[in-house]
Amino acid sequence: MKGSGMNRKPRFAIAVTVLLFVLLYLPIFAVMLFSFNNKKSLTVFEAGHCAGTRRSSTTPS
């Protein structure tokens, strides 16, 4: 049927798009997560009680 090709979803292009969106946001979420890290390390995570955010909000500028 003419035009049916146009309506077919390009699976490869959509897969690449989804993957790109995941990769675009992944480091931002990692930084957001590590803002709650109890340790000062950027690699080892230890769940804290918003220590980083509390520290940044109380530190005088």
Partner: protein, 302 residues
């Protein structure tokens, strides 16, 4: 007494051209602030940099203007030449990968995004609200040897000697991550403008989707791809954050050398000469891009 029926008599024909001329003059005047700004803060800084590249440093490392060619000759030192070549290779590789990623993404959004098209474009831009440095720190967190990603990979059987951080692949990946959106947006713009019936006609003519893509979609979006290549290659060549945070000491780029000469090395003249070398390289690429787009425009008008 005679009265006229029209309240606003039409202007005589010879008076009409005055209006566009006045408007043109207004636009010319509006160029003044930008020109003054660029002259003061860009051209003068550039001239200062050129003058400094012929300078020397005193015993304390303070820059002194001069007329020596030592800094220009110093660029051809094998160590610097290797770093310049490495930067070129990384920037070319990053541009090529960006092109390969950008086409399917731009195609999917432009041709199949439907009513979510604008939202998807906005989602592409949103990560740029976070600083480039912060996002690179994010990658450092994710790719370091003790990270969750690497621990998971090791659990899957990847040998312990394998690491991503401090490799050339990580630097190129960082460059791709940082600049891929600059490739997607111009390609998206040209694909969005493209007539959908062209693809349909291409399908009838060429049969397979892949052949249609190369025979119809790629030529129609070539100008966007060229613009994207220029937008990715130029900043990627001068980037230093990706190499510094993801590459380690063995993967330095020319941007790192310039930064080092200006801040840590206290050798501003050599830093200025390296900057000039980078600018010359980028200018050559820019001219090649302009020549290609001019040739394409001429072909399109034929």
């Amino acid at each position: 007494m005679t009265t006229t029926t029209t309240a606003f008599p039409e202007a005589p024909p010879e008076a009409r051209p005055e209006r566009p001329a006045r408007r043109e003059r207004l636009w010319t005047w509006m160029l003044v602030p930008g020109t003054v700004w660029m002259s003061l803060f860009f051209v003068s800084a550039l001239l200062l940099l050129i003058a400094l590249s012929f300078g020397t440093t005193d015993a304390l490392g303070n820059p002194r203007f001069g007329s020596t060619l030592d800094n220009i000759v110093g660029i051809f030192n094998p160590t610097y030449a290797r770093v310049i070549l490495r930067s070129l290779v990384y920037a070319v590789a990053a541009s090529a990968i960006c092109l390969l990623i950008a086409y399917p993404v731009a195609y999917a959004i432009a041709r199949h995004g439907g009513r979510y098209k604008n939202a998807l474009v906005a989602l592409l831009v949103v990560p740029f609200f976070a600083n480039y440095l912060v996002r690179m720190y994010g990658w450092q967190t994710l790719l370091s040897d003790e990270s969750v990603v690497m621990t998971w990979l090791r659990g899957m059987g990847v040998p312990a000697s394998f690491h991503i951080l401090d490799t050339s692949g990580a630097v190129i990946g960082g460059l791709v991550y940082g600049y891929v959106v600059f490739m997607i947006l111009p390609i998206y713009a040209s694909l969005e403008r493209m007539d959908g019936s062209l693809i349909e006609a291409g399908r009838d003519l060429y049969g397979t989707s892949l052949r249609t893509f190369f025979a119809v979609t790629v030529p129609a979006s070539r100008s966007g791809a060229y613009a994207g290549l220029a937008l990715v290659f130029l900043p990627a060549m001068g980037d230093f954050i990706s190499a510094q945070l993801l590459g380690g000491p063995d993967n330095l780029m020319i941007g790192n050398l310039v930064q080092d000469k200006f801040f840590a090395g206290q050798n501003w003249p050599l830093g200025a000469a390296l900057t000039m070398a980078l600018m010359v390289l980028l200018l050559i690429c820019m001219f090649a891009y302009l020549r290609q787009t001019a040739r394409d425009a001429k072909e399109a008008n034929r």
